[in-house]
Amino acid sequence: MAIVTAQGLVKAYGIVKAVNGIGFAIEPGECFGFLGPNGAGKTTVMRIISCFLPPTSGTVTVFGMDVTREPSDIKARMGLMPQEDNLDPDLSVFENLIVYARYFDIPRKKAVPLVNELLDYVELGDRGTMNIKELSGGMKRRLLLARSLVNSPEILILDEPTTGLDPHSRRAAWDKLNQLKFRNTTLLLTTHYMEEAERLCDRVAIMDSGHIVATDTPQNLMQLHGGNLEDVYLKLTGRNLAD
């Protein structure tokens, strides 16, 4: 059974439809990527799946539950890595994760070893006492990844996880995400990097102006349309640039 489903999903702001009638089903354990130009509606879809925004119409379910009816139960089993840094600047690196674990009702006795383990995992084990503003951009991204794993999520949503990272950090992030895939965590990500989509995603949905214009494996898309994934992407989403 699919872990995330969307049917007839519309999100409208006044007369503008940020998401205009899309449907998809994401299977457990797969890595599913949303590709598309800025403003295509990717982030809006992520925010609806993560129970932050209610859909204007249509239904979205996660773990078989409706996002508008059981948001707390869904979010308890989901991890979210946002596009922007929203770490708590009033707290240290370590405290950020401890406080976050508390939101998931993880008792402190369990949280402390868990947080240390996660900080080691993202190679911030020796930075626990640092202030957030002392961290580099790459370290912040890693800490956000660690924070999104605090509740051992069954599905991890990553909104542009490697945007702004240098090539070394990006490779390191891909390694981490691949490890999570091996552990059977379902990954749902948006990206502008075709190489990232090709390396990580089992299937991608290409979005343009609120619609999904194609959903398939990267291999099938490349066979069907010719060229590499970037060529496919440009072919399917190109018309806006000509306007």
Binding site: S50, P71, L87, D90, V99, Y103
Partner: protein, 251 residues
């Protein structure tokens, strides 16, 4: 709304507060003392007794009330606004099982809790100045909480509506300053023209000042009307910040 989720957010605020309070605590503490010394002891020398009390004793309980008010208002205007926008703390919290109503409830309760923290602190100061006649003043604490809740509600409503952080200047100048000056802290409002004095009855600080002053003197029954006023208004206003914060945050 789930109490457990709201509690988690309150724990976060407490963690941050106990870490940072040293840098802000003194500010909330020094200002009331300055008023007590300047107005009470300085100006008070030239002022006759009010209702049989020396001037400094008259204003002491009012300073407790205004300190409680400012604590809740700062928290739920600038504090909440910064968490909601610049720091994106709300976004981070809403990605957990905590939902927007839990978060709004926590912000309101935290604002009221700040009123109690600063109310009690200034209560101790005023008592050390020897300006409290009756231990009944301690019974004012629940009303400081409830009136703090009213200030938190009004502040959250403002926070949910302002286009930007600069707009709070209007709120402070047009709402907070008149309350501070015309709620009977520095002179009995009856001294004002009747129509102006009547307006005071509709404002929360007037009632909290009346309660603190009466309790400090050991008279509880004088202010039953003000106690009822605070309970009713705190309850009646409550749904509004929830509705407006839902609209502001979830778009």
């Amino acid at each position: 709304m789930q109490i457990r989720h709201a509690w988690r957010v309150l724990q976060r605020h407490w963690t941050v507060y106990t870490k940072l309070y040293k840098s802000s605590f003194a500010l909330n503490f020094i200002e009331p003392v300055l008023y007590l010394v300047a107005m009470g002891m300085g100006l008070g020398v030239f002022v006759q007794e009010i209702n049989g009390q020396p001037y400094v004793k008259f204003i002491g309980p009012g300073i407790i009330a205004s300190s409680a008010m400012f604590a809740a208002v700062y928290e739920c205007t600038y504090g909440t606004y910064i968490r909601m926008t610049f720091q994106k703390t709300f976004d981070a919290i809403l990605a957990t099982p905590v939902n927007i109503d839990d978060l709004t409830a926590a912000e309101l309760i935290w604002g009221a809790a700040k009123s109690v923290i600063y109310g009690i602190t200034i209560m101790i100061v005023v008592a050390l100045f020897g300006l409290v006649d009756s231990p009944l003043l301690l019974l004012a604490i629940p009303f400081i909480f409830l009136c703090g809740l009213i200030f938190a509600e009004v502040s959250m409503i403002t926070t949910a509506l302002v286009p930007g952080i600069d707009s709070f200047s209007y709120f402070y100048t047009l709402f907070m300053t008149p309350l501070f000056l015309f709620s009977g802290i520095f002179f009995p409002v009856e001294a004002l023209p009747r129509a102006v004095a009547g307006i005071a009855w509709f404002t929360p600080l007037y009632h909290l000042v009346a309660i603190c002053r009466a309790f400090a003197a050991g008279h509880i029954t004088h202010v039953i009307g003000s106690m009822v006023w605070i309970v009713i208004v705190a309850a009646a206003l409550a749904p509004v910040p929830f509705r407006l914060m839902r609209r502001r945050v979830i778009q």
